[in-house]
Amino acid sequence: MKNKLMILLIITCLIGIGTSCEKTIPDAPADDEILDGPIEGLTPEQNRIFLNGDVAFNGDVFSSANGLGPMFVANSCGSCHAGDGKGHPFTTLTRFGQSDTLGNKFLLLGGPQLQNRAIPGFQPEKIPAGATFSNFTPPANTGLGFFEAISDASIMALADANDADGDGISGRPNWINITQYSQIRPGTIIRNGKYIGRFGKKASVYDLLQQTANAYSQDMGVNSTYEHYSTYDNQEIDPEISNQKVLDVVFYLKTLKAPIQRDQNNADVIAGKQVFLNISCGKCHTPQLQTGPSNIAALANKSFAPYTDFLLHDMGPALDDKYTEGTAMTPEWRTPALWGLGLSKNSQGGGYHLLHDGRAKTIDQAILTHGGEAEQSKNKFQQLPSNEKAKLIKFLESL
């Protein structure tokens, strides 16, 4: 009798477990609480390429056996961009050697990027005497396909290089030279042989292929056919990664979803957005933009909310590191996108490391460090009653 009862109990348990497998695993976080995942509307074949890129980006770890270094900053893409979000100061990279618009004078001395780590038995690079430098905290990589798909004309429409409207804000594109392997977008605007940069803290990169190949080379010391000069001795070397892998990662970056705003219907968030617009933050952190045509249908002609205008703005002396890229002046920075800001803590180790070098530990601090063209907005922020400040911060954290 006891045995029969036990058999019944075992069978009941097994049926219970078998029918409730999915309930025994941890819930997936809400889609608006994470940054990774593809944009909606990819085809099955695009999903496959996305997954290949995902594995390469988040799974590949480089060591001396497969191309790391010998000098490097990080040994995997995921080391700098945990969960595809903003990075932590431990993988902050340093650029050096260019202090005006005439170019980098330290390219033969290891510029423009410092490789501050080295595989065992090698010594890392040091900043040469006389070179100015700036530290860059890794940015989030979400929604970059939207950045790629916006037209040059849309960016130019936001520019006001000579402050014609007299609002004290004079955004302009960073006109840059492009690489030999860059693929020119339809509708590209060229001025004096230079192109509009849109990626990077100084908008000194034309497209995601350059950004990716450059990151493999400069961040990890992994050469490709795109970037085939070693950062160690500037010699041309064999590729250490296949073109296919680089292109898979480019596709992955292009098709990562845009961050989804949370609490959009919260009264304080709505009021905070109004404060944001009232004190003219939105003049540079443009709330809404539209992509143009794209060979990825899911990215074509889509409205998106990056809170950037892709333009350079003078941010004042506090943010002037005396280092620059392209034709940007040293105090000029490309307006950073604010989308995903509220999720930054989840990829930066539980706290904020904001601004280009991670120096601001709160949103408040980041705003108060603004100067130059943002001086007026900063002053207005300081004069806000505390409840309006709180609503503004709540809005920014919802992004």
Binding site: C21, I25, H88, G349
Partner: protein
Amino acid sequence: MKKLLTLFLVVLLAKQGFAQIDPDLLRAPDRDSARIKLNMDAVYDRPFLQVAKLPVALGGYAEANYQYLGADGLTEGHQFQMRRFTLFVSSGIAKRIKFLSELEFEDGTKEINIEFASIDFEFNPLLNLRGGIVMNPIGAFNQNHDGPKWEFVDRPISATQMLPATWSNVGFGIFGKKYLKNWVYAYEAYLTNGFDETIIANSENRTFLPASKANRDRFEESFNGAPLLTGKVALRNTKIGELGLSYMGGIYNKFQDDGLVLDEKRRLNVFAIDFNTVLPKLNTFINVEWAWVNVDVPATYTEQFGSNQQGGFIDIVQPLIKRPLFGFERAVLNAAVRLEYVDWNKGKFSSTSGNISDHIYSVVPALSFRPTPQTVIRLNYRYNWQTDLLGNPAAKLAGFQFGVSTYF
């Protein structure tokens, strides 16, 4: 044609002959006659069978399992796995000279390893010489790892993902035991080939001692010519339990080659403590192991690879029913739980002075049914909380695991 027919008859007769082996001829060879067993005895404390007067005894164990695990809402679905199929061959070559080998197939034939293949010479209970492929006695699990002995489908995380169980190498060593009333004292000391630079250059992206297991050459030559020292002392009291203290250390990097200096010598050191006991009256079995790892990682390398690690586990196994069940005379039903923790990178970021994370907590409640002491059917529910290097919100993994394991 005649030859073919003859061959066929020989095969047929041979098959009939084996089929007619009298089970009485199968006998368990003499096992270590020690009164009190220690973890170091585990290698011989296994069921072997000997056929008639064949000079070798055979044994082994198998582990198969099913699991349905998911992490943060994503799952690989239903997975069936043949985790291990292990064969033992032992031989009493002469009085006080014996040989034992352990050949393991993991995940089908994905990994095939000789985990142990040693000749033991007993000069005195206090002085035995062992040579061949030995299991480095770091902690207890590395030596006492057979699947049927455990109530859990997975091996402890600290034992396999921090310490490199099962970690065996070619080398020589000595061991011995001394019995005093209710006490037994034991020691082991081996010099073997050791680790290599993959412990800080691997796809796990962390200091990872098990990476060196992939180096098959370690059974042929030392990576750097510097021996790995592993030593353990253990004592057991019949009423209190067994305590083990162990150390493993040596140089892991290639500091010179062809007479040229390549790097400074870099050491790794591992300390472990293990304890097991059975609580009187309750018959609760408690097994604890904790280890500390220290690796000399170059300061100019990435903080991704930590210099210090620690971790361990505690297993608590409570027999619930001990009586004949389903026709099995010595059946036991156990409830058990395993608590685990590993920190692969103890330290602080130089950039922020904040703590480096890269750790995991795990809880595994379990039910196990042992129809015989050498066979186990086990049902586990695993829940892991794993935090990345930066200390971002933990990834949660959970799900059921079901498995069977038996000696044969």
